[in-house]
């Protein structure tokens, strides 16, 4: 088993509103290992996004620590900390600045982290686009001229541009059509070993998780209920909530229906 890339120890997050406190995450600990894809599964209010934001350093945890390569990540992150952890967002419509070209959005990552010589950067941008399956001359286009799937590919290229180690995938395909979703997921799967990436995959879609993630962590109402290797968790879901989630999955074949209903009742081996 590979060593942990990122460790979350006893992380809690409480949001202070004017007249009350809203706990979003309660004493959560887990780690993400180098080269794996850890899926974080749950419904709205589960704390998935809070976990992502803590790891990305959007805001600091109320309690607990987050370690990267065994080093604690500070609350105020320097540029170097930013580079290693990148995000692919859910909404392809807003993830790219509509007033800047695709190339400019990618160039920003290179400029900020001084990757490559200034002269080489347009070349690097083109290479990055090709790596995510887009023609290099897309650099001149504005996001309005791109489809949802193409925008998500650009977002992936942006994460690659930073030479990031951990990519947080926040429902990256949930607003895409099923054919496009399949292609984008495929791309992500291919990039992972080639670029030595580690994924934290946030989703509510268990069917995708089953085929895409190495390990799964199930969250509900800010708590981590269950975490385990995908195969094992889908063979023997321990927690009743996990079973409820599985029972709600819409399936397209009789065979799946049988498996799902047995899982919902307790597990394949029960």
């Amino acid at each position: 088993m590979s060593p942990p890339l990122l460790e979350v120890h006893g992380a809690s997050k409480v949001f202070r509103l004017e007249d009350r406190e809203v706990p979003a995450l309660l004493d959560v600990s887990f780690d993400v290992r180098e080269g794996e894809c850890l899926a974080i599964v749950g419904e709205s209010g589960a704390g998935k996004t809070t976990v992502a934001n803590l790891i990305l350093g959007v805001y600091p945890p109320t309690d607990g620590t987050i370690l990267m390569h065994g080093e604690p990540l500070p609350a105020r992150r320097r540029r170097e900390h930013r580079r290693a952890i990148q995000l692919v967002q859910q909404n392809p419509l807003s993830t790219l600045n509509p007033k800047r070209t695709v190339g400019a959005s990618l160039r920003l990552a290179l400029d900020v982290h001084r990757i490559g010589e200034r002269r080489e950067r347009p070349e690097i941008v083109a290479t990055l686009l090709e790596e995510v399956g887009l023609p290099g001359d897309f650099a001149r286009r504005y996001p309005a001229a791109l489809s949802g799937g193409q925008r998500q590919r650009v977002a992936v290229a942006r994460a690659l541009a930073c030479r990031s180690e951990l990519v947080v995938l926040d429902e990256p395909t949930s607003s895409l059509d099923v054919l496009v979703q399949a292609r984008v997921l495929r791309l992500l799967e291919e990039l992972k070993p080639r670029r030595g990436l580690t994924y934290l995959f946030i989703t509510h879609d268990l069917s995708v998780v089953r085929n895409f993630a190495d390990r799964v962590a199930v969250f509900e109402k800010g708590r981590l209920l269950e975490i385990g290797v995908t195969e094992a968790l889908f063979a023997e879901p321990e927690h009743p909530y996990t079973r409820r989630l599985i029972s709600a999955v819409p399936v397209v074949s009789r065979e799946e229906e049988l498996v799902r209903d047995r899982l919902a009742e307790g597990g394949l081996n029960a």
Partner: protein, 292 residues
């Protein structure tokens, strides 16, 4: 002979813009028997939602829309009806459930007021008290047992699932012949979506309501509908009973769709070719299906 609830033949829709004339629907035909649940499944931009809006007579209000073909509802050709007569059908004989329940309810009126408005469509003189009673009865049917609290609430004070149930109750309150459901519950959590769909299915069965169910989610369609039409870029490419379409998809596009869905049983991510190879093949009709 039974009169179908809805019979669409060779429906075409185009929009006249400044630059050109864009055809969105290229002649689709579709029918729904009384009490039948029929799904129209396809990707975004395939023309599902506009079809629903033509049936309701909403798109006809747009001056840029050009519509041809026939839409016969309970034996009456909608094209021959005046705008006023079409309006009279809406909310009484045909109703609609929308994608995002919370934003589909008016944010500045209480649920009770909005429900009253809906009931007034069939009974214009219904008073508040009677409306409350009728509405409470409907809310009980969608498993809301504290109707009074719900009536006093504004939509933003209720959860998405609650609002969805309220919408379903409103949609069925006037005993419509046809319910159009446009991606119902897509904005909700999976467990809530599963619950409300189950509830809706039971209810329409109980009330013997015909349903036109619009969705992009094959799994949801399979669980809800009796029969399915697959639409691709404004053309129906395949139709038949859910069981046979899902077991033996005949059309290249349907097969690709089915293949692209990741399975809960595992087996890895699907491998999808880049180009739609033969998605424009002619219509595939499954023998056991179809209703005429």
């Amino acid at each position: 002979m039974i009169v179908p609830t809805l019979d669409i033949r060779d429906l075409r829709l185009g929009f006249r813009t400044y630059e050109a004339y864009v055809e969105v629907l290229h002649g689709i035909s579709l029918n729904i028997a009384p009490g039948e649940r029929v799904a129209l499944v396809g990707e975004s931009g395939s023309g599902k939602s506009v079809t629903a809006r033509i049936v309701l007579g909403l798109l006809q209000l747009l001056r840029s829309a050009r519509i041809s073909g026939s839409v016969v509802f309970e034996g009456r050709d909608l094209d021959r009806l005046s705008a006023r007569e079409r309006q009279r059908l809406r909310g009484t004989r045909m109703t609609m459930v929308f994608q995002d329940p919370t934003s589909s309810l008016n944010p500045v009126y209480r649920i009770g007021t909005q429900f009253h408005e809906v009931l007034r469509r069939t009974e214009p003189r219904i008073n508040e008290h009677a409306a409350r009673e009728r509405a409470a009865q409907m809310l009980l049917e969608v498993s809301i047992d504290d109707p009074d609290r719900v009536f006093e609430s504004y939509p933003f004070q209720l959860s998405g699932g609650m609002n969805q149930r309220v919408m379903i109750a409103m949609a069925l309150a006037n005993e419509p012949a046809l319910l159009i459901a446009d991606e119902p519950g897509t904005a909700l959590d999976v467990t809530v979506q599963a619950q409300t769909l189950k509830l809706m299915r039971e209810l329409v069965e109980h009330h013997h309501t015909s349903v036109l169910f619009i969705s992009h989610n094959l799994g949801v369609v399979r669980e809800f509908a009796d029969r399915v039409y697959v639409i691709y870029k404004g053309r129906i490419v395949e139709q038949g009973p859910c069981a046979s379409v899902f077991e033996r998809p005949g059309h290249a596009y349907t097969r690709a769709l089915m293949a692209a869905v990741p399975r809960i049983t595992g087996g890895g991510l699907p491998d999808i070719g880049d180009e739609p190879r033969d998605f424009s093949q002619p219509l595939v009709v499954h023998e056991s299906g179809g209703y005429a």
